[in-house]
Subunit: 110 residues, 2 copies
């Protein structure tokens, strides 16, 4: 267990859904309103709002309401604990390959 | 959505539990039998077995039974899709800091 236990639980759980991951992918580009975020999805607005609430409770996104418009943004460094946990739990042979790979190229997407 | 959708769902969900993450942390060191894996935990053996099954269904661990002993090991690169997803979804300013940080130090733990 780490001191980030419950924080990590919530972050992993929040990202275990393709719609919520797609919302995060959209918010990497820029902040957006609920209706902008909902637009590409087949889901209803209340469903999207509920997904955004799960992400907000997990500390991954934050929102601000100005007038009638609520705007969501990604919280800086919110994914860092997950990234750290994953990279620290790789097998020794994988880490050696990582370091080699990092010297050969710096791919940023997947 | 990515082609890794359901694979990522299962991996994120499997890791959203502190006991399952602790089992993965143990298996990074070496393969281990169910009773070795259960030893440090307060949980019953069947509970640990169920956690291991969730990890196995998510493709994170694999097991082999020889005689009466089932041994679990971490699947190489099983955490790579999560690591890739997370690092590709960081904010542009975070990626610049990552590259700077990578030049200054190579911390491996957290």
């Amino acid at each position: 267990m780490t001191k980030y236990g419950s924080e990590l639980d919530a972050a992993f759980r929040a990202l275990a859904d393709p719609t919520r991951r797609a919302l995060v992918e959209r918010l990497v580009r820029s902040p957006a309103s609920v209706s902008q975020l909902a637009e590409p999805f087949d889901a209803s607005l209340p469903t999207i709002v509920e997904h955004l609430r799960v992400l907000e409770r997990a500390g991954i996104v934050a929102s601000e309401k100005v007038g009638r418009i609520r705007t969501y943004r990604l919280v800086p460094d919110a994914l860092t604990p997950i990234g750290r946990w994953v990279s620290a739990r790789r097998l020794p042979q994988e880490r050696r390959l990582d370091r080699l790979g990092a010297h050969l190229a710096h791919p940023e997407g997947d």
